[in-house]
Symmetry: D2
């Protein structure tokens, strides 16, 4: 978690005297699942080429040091407040950033934000060929061109206060059209500091991919802070390979989830295995006598905490009502026989709800904690 | 020291719904001295308009949140690697940033970097009227124009590896010319991660102002980190008022010092009073019996630590060989009689060297620590 | 906030070679109010002489380094689980600790915990003369002896789960007796990790002093952690002088309040002035044009945060709905005219509730924020 | 690294209402090597039963939460300054602590400190049967008894200022006797805040085990702090099993090393493999064109940092002069061809010195860094 900075390749090559000290990556450790790579992606970021604060190459540096696998720069096509001072070439961000991305091994996906009033609101096109060609009179024409180029379209921040002052996400006829015509491949359920529970439900119902993106304009750390409470959303993509093509395939097959601060949103098939692969017991077996306790040690190797609340447990063994497995930490919890007369020798289990992992709006993932107990009565 | 971010005024005005939460300023607490305001300034920063990573308004936000009083954006006049993508108007950074600076109460000083090979190397012109007019064939013409506009000129990073591969600062005839002609008003003794002791000596000898600036291209926190080891240099200006005019006057009268991480460089007249006004004793008086110790409590209210090493003390009272007064902390140190037979009732003093405060290269500031002691012999 | 450690005087005197490096005090900065010193006190702590983990001198060291002014070691009189291994002399903790306390300038108050079943539960006697004499058959006899010695009595943790498994604080006839007989001078409204709102109401109704104490058995940092979420309660005593006698007088006159993590509990007469003396504006005056905002800078010099929520404000000027003034930080907030046609030149005020300062259970302190505005309409 | 606390079993059993929240262990992650378990041990700690500040059960709690595998409480046999207040039973610390140790899975080794003037100074006996029987007139008799009980003897802090005011470690005839008679099995090369390079050399020469212990009197965190600069020494024991017997066997076979803050001391056979098993590359293969760089990502999974300085490298590929692999971090470093005409396709290596890993006094461990390169000339 140590922070550093990465000198750009240009400086590196200028002078051996300016060669970089070691720098550090703030990795985001989430296990691979179901035979896929778990790629950490942000598909919605801005640069000076629309209304952002930073040059495209800076986005590459901060993404690499921030532990991302893939990035899309998606400047507004129609909102160009700095046109007096910067080029109107909508492909400039991608062109400028791709060299550093290649050196750093970052997957850079060409993109743009189709920026229209609601409905249909703002839509991101990623995997575009030529962003300039998407500058059209109507949003339909822009989307037609994007689809023609093989781009994927997702709907940005449906409940954004700038377009929905009451912060309510609304589904319009235009979105039904986008869905039924096969154009809409996903929706942001989290954007910047916001989370939209209703949109999470829509994605599950309508079978489109979940997205969570930063929509960052300033440097990420400036906008979201660096503390544990940081809410920056990312999209987890479960991809066959670490490549742009595999990301595209995964999105089309809805193999995504959303991580936002200490919360994870997605289908049980992903979340359950992420939890199970994150934790490992260093003390799991107990010889208990009477009600004397045993002390379990369990390590959470991931960068997600797990806040577990007991739902149901084996009747003879007491489990803690709550277990907090902080990210990257080894936790201790106690178990003990419910009475002095318990006699057993077998695995015992307890079912917990992981209160920060959601398989649907308001619905926490259920997980099982198992320990091996040999209990004998106290004389 | 809590970090936050500042929404730009434009966003603020767009929508009451987007109104900012409270944000925090990482103040740099250094006492005012000699009747002057101690202003924290960075006179050398870059934006996307030469080879920097950020938009001018971002520099205002980070300066305000970073506790600066004054800022100069000094993009390279002659090095314009992004001319294909951004405007060549050398006044653009100032024009774009001045609105936010006014709202935020930041003193924004128009500037530019005259970027030439060595000698004379890079020179900053601040308080310029029209940076575009400084684009000239020769550096002499550029300086003539700058002086005509009423600008102040200082020499940047004399020992920079990009121009002096052996990192040795060299004084050329060109610099003698600049000095004798009254053009050169100061030199950077610290720039980015570097400190030049020889240049510190030059400034004292030749009576020009000390400067220490970040020369930042990326966001400050990205480039220098946020930890206690952070080396970002700033120029302290001792100014009659908190205004651009007072800063100019102060530089002309050489009322500056340089702060770089935990080190301070400058004349004794400033440093001594900064030290004395930084610390306050909450326990300063002791009734000692024999060699039993008394415990002094002293608070360092500044953001500079003081690493004190004993030079000489009253012969009857023991003082610690080292006292570390961390920034913003209350420290404890012990004193006691040197023997059980000491009898006295008066202030006693010890002279320490503040090892991180330099009044000349390698020369630490001497400070006096005084406590009030009533000591009686042990029976 | 830098942590360190304090070598005991005995070691100090053994050898100049073992002389201590500077150590640091984690001061608790709360302003003095109403002409009184605000003393930070813990009147309820344990040592190895009942069921605690530490030697009495350690409590002195941790109290000094933890920023306390006064401390009472109050080991259980009747619960002595270690009598096989340690002395039964109930005065031992005070006798052992008083030497270091004197050197360190800590006010050490002799005390003991009268440890009885509920009712009346556990009662602390502080300012005792001879704790051994309080070992009696009945609690009434123990209290009679304590009162005879001039001790002050307060009731500990009325809602403690060890005696009230449902965590409900109950007022028994025994407590009515203690109150009407003038024996009971205060009650703990906060103890260890618990807070008892009902008890806060009792104290206000029945005119007894508020107490908040750690009841610590292990080292304080081990038991409560060192992070910002730390809940360790302390009693603030508003005392004429920094002395044991003044603390006693202040308690008898109910000049106390309770600080627990980021919360403060007490009468408005203390809390209001604590807030007002904690904050200082560095930017308070604004020249506003139309709806363009002004940026206020305000420093909270105390170690208490203030979480302000707007209740009412001047109709012409917009104030933020929420202002968070973190402890020891300089915050920024915006104000602006509610419309472009506002014209005024005067102080304007807003009333906020400080959501973490309680003048009664559930009742937040109201505070006023004032800024000086010269607003002129936008053309 | 999140800190917490562990309620003692007694409290746990008193009341389900007092059951502990999850607590966290500050694990010390050092890889197992050569088929052995790497156990983290402190064989020298004090309690209130000599001159320490804490009760024996507290040492168990702090050891478990501090990530130790094994602990010896070694109170002074002859220095009993608190005999007026605590039992003189030298077995009391072990007896009192063993219950909690069993529940927590901590290996508690019975021990005592034979506390004599120099020579021979202080000697620890661990694996004693009855510490009371070691209280003898002469140190020889004490050792004879210890050996009779099957104890292991090691020499404590040879350079301690309390016995060697000039801090020089001296080898006396008495130590030659202890060595030649087979009594002396090891020596502390690090104790408390001190490190003795000469003693490290003695251990290697004389074939006795290396020890590094805290000699802690106060709580560990109070004495050593919790920051990254913390210098608390521990002994690493390379043991067949996680048991007391295996620890004894390992010491006899000199399978130990010493960790102290960010430094590691021991034989190359341990240190080399610790380094190699600590690091893993996530990017190790590069396709380089001309002098364009490749960016390597390497994770240090251990709690030891590695400060690498280049000694020698493949002539065609540039490696960084320094690589800092911080504990628990993923670092980035660059490699590139030394010229634009390099053509190769094979693993290339560089030899570095790990400046904080010592195989003898002043002798840094050499390690090899290997990357896979396909380099082609730039056109």
């Amino acid at each position: 978690m140590i922070r550093g900075h990465l000198l750009i390749a240009a400086i590196l090559l200028l002078s051996a005297a300016a060669l970089p000290q070691t720098t550090y990556i703030n990795t985001i450790d989430i296990p691979d699942v179901a035979g896929y790579h778990t790629l950490k992606c942000d598909f919605h970021m801005h640069t000076v080429f629309s209304d952002g604060d930073v040059w495209p190459t800076f986005r590459v540096k901060e993404a690499v040091l921030g532990g991302l696998d893939a990035l899309a720069l998606t400047d507004h096509l129609e909102y160009q407040p700095r046109a007096e001072y910067v080029s109107k070439d909508r492909n400039a961000p991608f062109k400028l950033a791709q060299g550093d991305a290649a050196i750093a091994g970052l997957i850079l996906i060409p993109g743009a934000e189709i920026t229209r009033s609601m409905p249909p609101g703002h839509l991101n096109a990623i995997f575009v060929q030529d962003a300039n060609a998407l500058v059209k009179e109507t949003w339909k024409d822009a989307l037609t061109e994007a689809v023609k180029q093989g781009a994927l379209i997702f709907w940005n921040h449906p409940g954004w206060g700038g377009q929905q002052p009451d912060h309510i996400s609304r589904w319009y006829d235009e979105h039904s059209y986008l869905l039924s015509s096969g154009i809409l491949k996903g929706i942001e359920i989290a954007n910047h500091m916001e989370y939209y529970p209703d949109v999470f439900a829509w994605c599950l119902e309508k079978n489109v991919a979940l997205f969570g993106n930063s929509d960052s304009h300033a440097p990420i750390d400036f906008e979201f802070g660096t503390g544990p409470e940081r809410l920056r959303p990312i999209t987890l993509v479960f991809a066959r390979e670490r490549s742009a093509a595999s990301i595209k395939e995964a999105i089309l097959e809805r193999r995504t989830a959303v991580m936002r601060g200490r919360e994870l949103f997605g289908e049980e098939r992903w979340l359950k295995e992420i939890f199970e692969k994150s934790i490992s017991f260093s003390t799991k077996s107990f010889a208990l006598t009477g009600k004397a306790p045993g002390m379990s040690r369990v390590t959470n190797n991931s960068d997600l905490p797990y806040s577990l609340v007991l739902v149901q447990s084996d009747s003879s063994i007491w489990f803690p009502p709550e277990i907090e497995l902080s990210a990257g930490s080894t936790a201790v919890f106690m178990v003990h026989a419910q009475s002095n007369s318990v006699s057993l020798a077998r695995p015992v289990t307890a079912t917990y709800e992981a209160k920060n992992l959601f398989t649907a709006p308001g619905k926490a993932l259920k997980v099982v904690v198992e320990v091996d107990v040999v209990a004998k009565p106290k004389d």
